[in-house]
């Protein structure tokens, strides 16, 4: 698109000004995040209900998760939120190279998270904790009077795989988005004047991080001493 002076313009013709365009796009992503909150909300609702009905079984089941890997992944994601902020910062100042770098760093951290997550999943598979015909559960806690009901513990793993799986899917989509942004950034598409997609994708990434910030204590930490 070109305006009357021949310079490239990124103002879509149905908006009256850049300001209106940026405001619209920003409001759009916030509203999208509202729908995401409601979407995850259904699963959090199910988690809350079943945890309160079966506190013992859920505590026993969460003992099978690795706090170490969970903590590492939390750190990785918080780090990626930082790199996203740096990408937005670079875009706002028109620093092309540093924009590409920080976008790339975000992708690397996102992949690291998924790698660790896949490792955890594989571990669960070997332990027989993936719900299915081969599911076996032993209460490994010490000093409890009665072992937890394996069927109720299985519900924990339904929710664990459901919630972390959905979260991982959002991560994969996010990495796809950031790859696109990085290719565009290398081509010099984003300027100081126009770089709306960077903060928009950034907001999405922060949201996905935030979901994990809730998932981590709910799944890994509650009920452990």
């Amino acid at each position: 698109m070109s305006d009357s002076t021949g310079a490239t313009t990124r103002l879509a013709h149905w908006y009256r000004s850049y300001e209106e365009q940026t405001e619209s796009v920003t409001l759009g992503i916030w509203l999208f995040l509202v729908t995401e909150v409601m979407f995850f909300g259904g699963l959090f609702m199910a988690y809350t209900l079943y945890r309160s009905l079966n506190p013992e079984a859920f505590a026993a089941a969460s003992h099978h998760l690795s706090i170490f890997l969970g903590t590492v992944n939390t750190a990785v994601l918080i780090g990626s939120s930082f790199t996203v902020v740096m990408a937005v910062w670079s875009a706002e100042r028109g620093k092309q190279k540093s924009l590409v770098f920080w976008l790339g760093a975000t992708i690397v951290l996102g992949l690291a998270f998924l790698g660790i997550k896949a490792n955890e999943y594989a571990h669960k598979w070997h332990e027989g904790l993936v719900p299915g015909p081969d599911f076996v559960f032993h209460d490994t806690r010490e000093g409890v009077h009665a072992a937890a009901d394996p069927n109720r513990a299985r519900m924990f793993f339904h929710l664990y795989f459901g919630m972390t799986g959905l979260h991982a899917l959002h991560m994969i989509i996010g990495i796809g988005v950031f790859l696109t942004l990085m290719v565009n950034a290398i081509r010099g598409k984003y300027t100081r004047q126009w770089h709306d997609p960077i903060p928009v994708a950034g907001l999405y990434w922060h949201f996905v991080d935030l979901v994990w910030i809730f998932l981590f204590p709910l799944l890994y930490l509650i009920g452990r001493h």
């Binding site: 149905w14 209106e20 619209s24 909300g41 199910a46 719900p131 009901d149 929710l159």
Partner: protein, 550 residues
Amino acid sequence: MSSAALHTQSDTNYLNDGFGIRSWLLTTDHKRIAILYLITNTLFFFMGSVMAALIRIELLTPEGDLVQPDMYNRLFTMHGVIMVFLFLIPTIPAVFGNFLIPIMIGAKDLAFPRLNLGSWYVFNVGAALIFYSIFKGGLDTGWTFYVPFSSTYSATNVMTAAVGIFIAGFASIMTGLNFLVTIHRMRAPGMTWFRMPLFVWAHYATSIIILLGTPVVAVTILMVGAERVLHLGIFDPAYGGDPILFQHLFWFYSHPAVYIMVLPAMGIQSELVAGMCRNRVFGYRAVCYASVAIAVLGFLVWGHHMYTTGQSPYAGTIFSFLTMLVAVPSAVKTFNWTATLYRGSISWETPMIYAAAFIGLFIIGGTTGVMLGTLGIDVHVHDTYFVVAHFHYVMVGVTMMGFMGGLHYWWPKITGRMYDAFWSKISALLIFVGFNLTFFPQFLLGYMGMPRRYHAYPEQWQTLNVLSTAGASVLGIGFVLPAIYFLWSLKKGKKAEANPWGAVGLEWEISSPPISHNFEETPVVINEAYDYQAGHVGVIPSTEKEADLV
């Protein structure tokens, strides 16, 4: 004060701005996308009607003779799924909302035109999956998909249909998000919140419901799918899961979904009453607030679908009370439409007939809703034809009257042609009479205890069932007529003027049909909606004096 028209009559408009299938399938013009939706959704409506016709023919006699029980279960399920998810929920926003919101607030298009086109494709992928499951033999869970039947026991094509609904939901979200951003950010200079037409307010409230509700039903469907395919039994009692949780999550969306269906129709109703009576809508602000109040209260009443599921009587009492509260903003609207007639100059054109029918049917549908919200009565008539009659009065009586009224009101604007006045009035009357004949007997049947979802019934209920089927036939004729005269009008109809009804509103101040960008220049809004004293709401900015008045 001069009333400078916003348009100069020109030969180019959005309909002849590009021909050929590509110019339609790749269009980002909100008006063309509205027409794409109108075509597909009308088709879906007729498909859903065929199922309804088969149901009514089966119920003509007490014995189950036309179809077997299994087939009957599939028929009412598919009728419900098609009508609810492919017609009632999406149609008014996607057709009239799409066409009118940008024009009514003085914008060139919606905020995200490509997202808008995308929504139509996403919607059709969802619809295709639903029809695929139907042609593969259908599904029999009822449109409510209750677990454990839908998750474990039904051997029909539940998954494809559920995924179809899941996907169609995203189209709904895309549309709602687009409307909210557009209404917030793209209003023309001078178009303040309380100058907006009530149609826009109604869609604003609807979009809020879509955004907050649809994701919840989406994740619920996802959980049912995970249970069916991956055996992640989140609702499975064997693992401590609770099937009732499904009902809570489902109705958390599906009660507000009723307001996704009726609020846009109420928005149309406000426009029709004002335009046909040439009168300012009585208590304009009260109607604005009523729309928002209905949207908010709608999220707090879902438990009234679950009085008989073992829900605690205290929860039931609170849900019952909150349900009654919804009647307040609904009544405010009804009184205000009626009061708008007072000292208006009413012309009994076809849209006015629909507007009057709307008020009558909504009163019956609404008050029976209050009856059903009452704990004692609901337990008595739960799962009977009383419920069936009630929700048809609301969902068809309101949404369908709104849709038909709106179609007759804005048809000249959308197509640039006038339809046949005589036949459209005959059809409107047939629909009104046929509708009442179909569904009023069902109140009586339900009160006498006839349960819903059975293909056979005791003989003493035959008379009322025959009346109902007769009414459905009249209704059917009433709906076939518009298909004929509307198509006829495209070829032979008289050319429509910019403002054939003498109504006030930005959409009537541009040409019929509008140009591709709606306005030659961004209008400046100087009057509130329905200002029948001034006779117009916008001016072009070159008449600076009036621009200064903003």
